[in-house]
């Protein structure tokens, strides 16, 4: 696999022996959001790790999810410390809770993934005033190289299931 992939001035390094991430990013490049599901108990997990945090089993398979979810929390970065993000401020970072496996195996659990809130093109950052807890989002893929895409999220046209909240101005 060619190394490294450069994105916003960062060298993203996913070597052939990266047994957590390599296939995850390759699936993303095929525009599929695939998570690891435990062969024993069936529960999915993120990030892609080598044991089930619920039953400790080592067996897993990749399972595709819809990429639809709700913003669980967010932040807006005004003072970037990474040089490649300085021209992007203010930008929103979102914690998305996916529709699959919400409230399992306990009421407080869910599959949560970090991304930027981006426009439907998957590349440019959405206006930071659009970021809010409770808004519905869908996955979009930002192609970076032949073998790698970032998983990002864009606002969906679905009605929010509950209260939408953002930090008062």
């Amino acid at each position: 696999m060619p190394q490294p992939v450069t994105y916003r001035g960062m060298a993203l390094i996913v070597p052939d022996n990266d047994s957590e991430w390599k296939e995850y990013f390759a699936h993303a490049r095929q525009h599929r959001l695939m998570l690891r599901a435990c062969k024993a108990c069936g529960l999915m997990r993120y990030p892609p790790t080598h044991a089930c945090p619920w039953c400790m089993d080592l067996g897993w398979t990749w399972k595709e999810v819809s990429g639809r979810g709700t913003i669980y929390s967010y932040e807006v970065v005004h003072h970037a410390i990474q040089p490649g993000f300085k021209d992007a401020t203010p930008y929103g970072v979102v914690l998305v809770e996916l529709d699959e496996q919400r409230g399992q195996p306990t009421a407080d659990e869910g599959l949560r993934i970090i991304g930027n809130l981006v426009k439907p093109d998957g590349v440019s950052f959405e206006d930071d005033t659009q970021v809010a807890i409770g808004k519905r989002v869908r996955v979009v893929f930002q192609d970076l190289a032949e073998h790698m895409a970032l998983v990002q999220f864009a606002l969906s046209d679905e009605a929010p299931p509950g209260h939408v909240w953002r930090l008062p101005e």
């Binding site: 929390s73 967010y74 005004h78 410390i81 930090l167």
Partner: protein, 406 residues
């Protein structure tokens, strides 16, 4: 199951620190040597009395095998630990364990960092652009790297769930700035208002500039030994009643992955530390809740039970945490105002509170004579402080705690 405890069997007998600066002009080795020496002298010990050493760092400091021999200390035990905030309390517990097993008798614990002039938190410039690999790929490519950026989800969700406001947590900075105005060592001595905090520029919403702690160059040291040994020493022994070290949420690396993210590690730590000490939150006179940000102080105070979950905003804005209030927090000014040391300064301050010898400008401070006049530039000694509690914060997922008494 009954909690195992070593309550009152170990003491902190010496404290020492260098000045806080934004440019020490010297090595972390030189600063560590100064802080350890001061703590040994404060305890009334000699170099030959110290035979254990612990330190913590993140690739930004000098290891014990260099610091000890520089002072003529021959070690029977040492360990250099990777860590930042929440290390101090954990290492007090490890020092007690090392002495309890007979590996050594007296342990110096230090933190030395050029946190302003050499290694800034989160990294800047070339360090902020270093290659991203492994589990960092879950966060860093999205412009989420600094401590504030990593913790902000927790604060934002807390505001959403409980109605906590920026104005409420600004009171933490207000209180700590009041305390710092009575601390000759503090880097930032000016008292600020709620309006100053919420009017300062955004760093990462919901954090303003003045919600964030300082960055400074400094070294700090504590000396731990047995209660029997402590009785013969110069300073009044300060007894460890309970300690919890690096208690964590289900995922240490990704606090946001499991459970309610507005919950922090104190949720798990409180039963351990209060169980050992045999006391309740209302028995504590002074707290040292880690203030990497205004929010971290608030989140921990509520999680450890100083108020109900979700009521931290009301608690920190009620006046309780200010000098003159019922239970002052970070009476030195803490990391928001005094200087940044990854937590040890807050334990040092509480040791001095319990001794009654806080280093304010009261003429008789060294002899424990204080005016308790909390106006600018005056006293910061809490009257009759008998029990203190430090709440160390590494991140939402990990924390440590230490209860001490005089």
């Amino acid at each position: 199951m009954a909690t195992k405890t070593l309550r009152d069997k170990y003491c902190i007998v010496g404290v020492g620190e260098t000045e806080y600066s934004r440019g020490s002009g010297r090595t972390t080795r030189a600063m560590a040597v100064e802080a350890v020496r001061k703590a040994i002298l404060d305890a009334g010990l000699r170099a030959s009395d110290v035979d254990g050493m612990l330190d913590y760092q993140g690739g930004d400091s000098t290891f014990a095998p260099h610091v000890a021999p520089d002072l003529g200390i021959r070690l029977n035990f040492y360990m250099d630990v990777v860590g930042g905030g929440s290390s101090t309390e954990a290492l007090v517990g490890l020092a007690m364990g090392a002495i309890e097993t007979g590996m050594c008798n007296t342990v110096a614990i230090y933190r030395s960092m050029n946190g302003y002039s050499e290694f800034r938190i989160g990294g800047t410039g070339a360090r902020a652009a270093q290659p991203v690999r492994g589990m960092d790929l879950a966060q860093v490519p999205f412009g989420m790297r600094s401590a504030g950026q990593t913790f902000a989800f927790t604060f934002m969700r807390h505001m959403h769930e409980y109605g906590t406001t920026s104005e409420q947590v600004a009171h933490v900075k207000v209180a700590h700035s009041k305390h710092a105005s009575q601390n000759p060592k503090a880097v930032q001595k000016e008292r600020v208002t709620v309006q100053d905090v919420v009017g300062s520029r955004w760093i990462v919403k919901p954090l303003h500039l003045l919600d964030c702690c300082l960055e400074t160059d400094n070294a700090t040291c504590l000396i731990v030994t047995s209660a029997e040994r402590a009785r013969d020493l110069r300073a009044r022994p300060i007894y460890v009643m309970g300690v919890a070290g690096r208690v964590s949420k289900p995922r240490v690396d990704f606090h946001w992955a499991h459970g309610p993210i507005s919950r922090v590690a104190g949720y798990y730590a409180k039963d351990i530390v209060f169980g050992q000490a045999g006391i309740r939150p209302e028995d504590v006179h002074v707290t040292g809740s880690y203030d990497a940000f205004t929010f971290t102080t608030m989140l921990q105070l509520e999680e450890y039970g100083f108020c109900k979950k979700g009521e931290g905003g009301a608690y920190v804005s009620s006046g309780i945490i200010e000098l003159g209030g019922k239970r002052p927090n970070n009476t030195s000014g803490g990391h928001l105002c005094e200087g940044y040391t990854h937590g040890m300064s807050m334990v040092i301050e509480n040791v001095r509170q319990l001794r009654g010898t806080v280093d304010d400008t009261c003429p008789g401070a060294a002899e424990g004579k204080h005016t308790h006049d909390y106006s600018v530039g005056k006293c910061r000694q809490v009257k009759d402080a008998e029990i203190t509690m430090n709440l160390g914060w590494a991140m939402p997922a990990t924390g440590s705690a230490l209860i001490m008494r005089r």
